[in-house]
Amino acid sequence: TQLLEQSPQFLSIQEGENLTVYCNSSSVFSSLQWYRQEPGEGPVLLVTVVTGGEVKKLKRLTFQFGDARKDSSLHITAAQPGDTGLYLCAGAYDGGSNYKLTFGKGTLLTVNP
């Protein structure tokens, strides 16, 4: 069974703070995606990374894909209450089916005003 581990599981911070969440696996991904999910909603795609070492920025969010394509991180600068939600990473494993995503359990982020 291929596992995708996310840490921390829960994170509660004050508005304006920076944070980083992590996504790790012992297997290699052909691609990795980050989603954000709010209560009662489906996940919404934030970014897709496919190249080892790739860095993508989306406003205050910075996504990094590990050189070996086994891990990824999401860094949020100056967090705002609107960033509150469940952050999920999902990967398509190298050598597996590229349509089948394996999701981590997520990091539940709460940003307090």
Binding site: L4, S31, Q33, G40, E41, G42, P43, V44, L45, T48, L88, A90, A92, S97, N98, Y99, K100, L101, T102, F103, G104, K105, G106
Partner: protein, 114 residues
């Protein structure tokens, strides 16, 4: 609307009953996926359709679960003889192509088996 639509949004049933969950994907999306999300977990792959056919049903937990997509658009997930362990949010997603590009998820159908 323009997004993925799922009905019902909430379903409460008794153990042993039959349940159908419906998904209406984004128009023009050929790929359709069902995932299941249990409390405190990430979504878990169930089945993938490309057009009308189930290209991969390896995630279905057992033969009580079945899904169809007869005309290549709307899909129905069917669960027979429901068990309490089937309680979860069932998410449907669609995409333009089958390469796990951008998946557009619906809001899910929350199933509670008493």
């Amino acid at each position: 609307g323009a997004g993925v639509s799922q009905t019902p949004s909430n379903k409460v049933t008794e153990k042993g009953k039959y349940v159908e969950l419906r998904c209406d994907p984004i128009s023009g999306h050929t790929a359709l996926y069902w995932y299941r999300q249990s409390l405190g977990q990430g979504p878990e792959f169930l089945i993938y359709f490309q057009g009308t056919g189930a290209a991969d049903d390896s995630g279905l937990p057992n033969d009580r679960f079945f899904a169809v997509r007869p005309e290549g658009s709307v899909s129905t997930l069917k669960i027979q003889r429901t068990e309490r362990g089937d309680s979860a949010v069932y998410l449907c997603a669609s995409s333009k192509e089958s390469s796990a590009g951008e998946l557009f998820f619906g809001e899910g159908s929350r199933l509670t088996v008493l």
